[in-house]
């Protein structure tokens, strides 16, 4: 049953991720990326990580992608940035093909390494695994220092974004 849900979700995620890379217009890429985020939220639910799945939908599919769409609309990128062909950096097809081959080779190697591992004794998590209560408890006890650091990071990012968007680059 879980496998029956997993394979379509994984296939949709991979196809939409390819769509992000292949699509010519940034708006279509952003739409594919939103779909991929939602599919990944489904995969997280499948792994009993309900809290992270909700956060995935709220933060990624909600906040971050709205920010992307906002910037795309603001810059009005029609016909700018890239020419008709997406597939060549510096008009150099050889470089594109070589870098893609390199990436696919790395993927092949990673898959071989994963296959060689022995992952046949999974722990059986209880039903309460991954609920907001469990994750929140461990977040505010064991990981309280990283949590505070994250808040400082977000504050710095907010100030940095305001300063960068306000002033001109010389």
């Amino acid at each position: 049953m879980e496998l029956l849900i997993f394979y379509p979700l994984a296939g949709i995620c991979i196809v939409l991720a390819l769509g992000v890379v292949i699509n010519n217009s940034p708006v279509n890429s952003a739409m594919s990326l939103i779909g991929m985020m939602l599919g990944l939220a489904g995969i997280f639910i499948l792994q009993q990580a309900h809290f992270i799945a909700i956060l995935q939908i709220i933060i990624y599919a909600g906040a971050i992608m709205v920010l992307f769409m906002f910037v795309i609309m603001l810059l009005n990128l029609k016909g700018k940035g890239e020419d008709d062909s997406w597939i060549s950096r510096d008009k150099d097809l050889l470089l594109t093909v070589l870098s893609s081959l390199l990436a696919v080779g790395v993927l092949y190697k990673i898959i071989i390494i994963i296959n060689a591992g022995d992952f046949n004794s999974p722990a059986l998590p209880p039903d309460s695994f991954g609920t907001v209560r469990e994750v929140g408890t461990i977040l505010f006890t064991k990981f309280i220092l990283p949590f505070e650091m994250a808040s400082i990071l977000l504050l710095v990012a907010m100030i940095g974004a305001v300063v960068l968007a306000k002033s001109k680059v010389d």
């Binding site: 890379v21 991929m36 990944l40 893609s100 695994f129």
Partner: protein, 110 residues
């Protein structure tokens, strides 16, 4: 006990999640290497961060810990910070020179 056994039989193996994670990561790497549109490069970086999240949560469930979920929470925080600052930089660069083609931004080189 019988219920536990039946759940065990139909669970997705960890390797499948790792394959999905590796595939998505490599798609993100290809996007960063191949595309020239700055916004699409940012989206590819988001794909890579999400791929790492899949790995973290898969190992998290495999080992019955909660640490991986906290880590993926932190990854989401970093992604939000990175996107806000990065898009501010893109807007700032666009104001300076009306293009987002990455190959035309070589002001640091000379």
């Amino acid at each position: 006990m019988l219920k536990v056994r039946s759940i065990d039989m139909e669970m997705v193996p960890l390797t499948h999640y790792l394959f999905l994670s590796a595939t998505l990561f490599v798609i993100g790497v290809v996007g960063v290497l191949v595309r020239r549109n700055a916004i699409v490069v940012f989206m590819s970086i988001e794909i890579m961060l999400n791929a790492v999240n899949i790995s973290l949560i898969a190992f998290d469930r495999y080992l019955n810990l909660h640490d991986g979920q906290i880590f993926s929470f932190m990854v989401m925080c970093v992604a939000a910070a990175e996107v806000s600052v990065g898009l501010a930089i893109i807007i700032s660069l666009f104001r300076n020179k009306p293009t987002i083609n990455l190959d035309e931004f070589n002001i640091m080189k000379s």
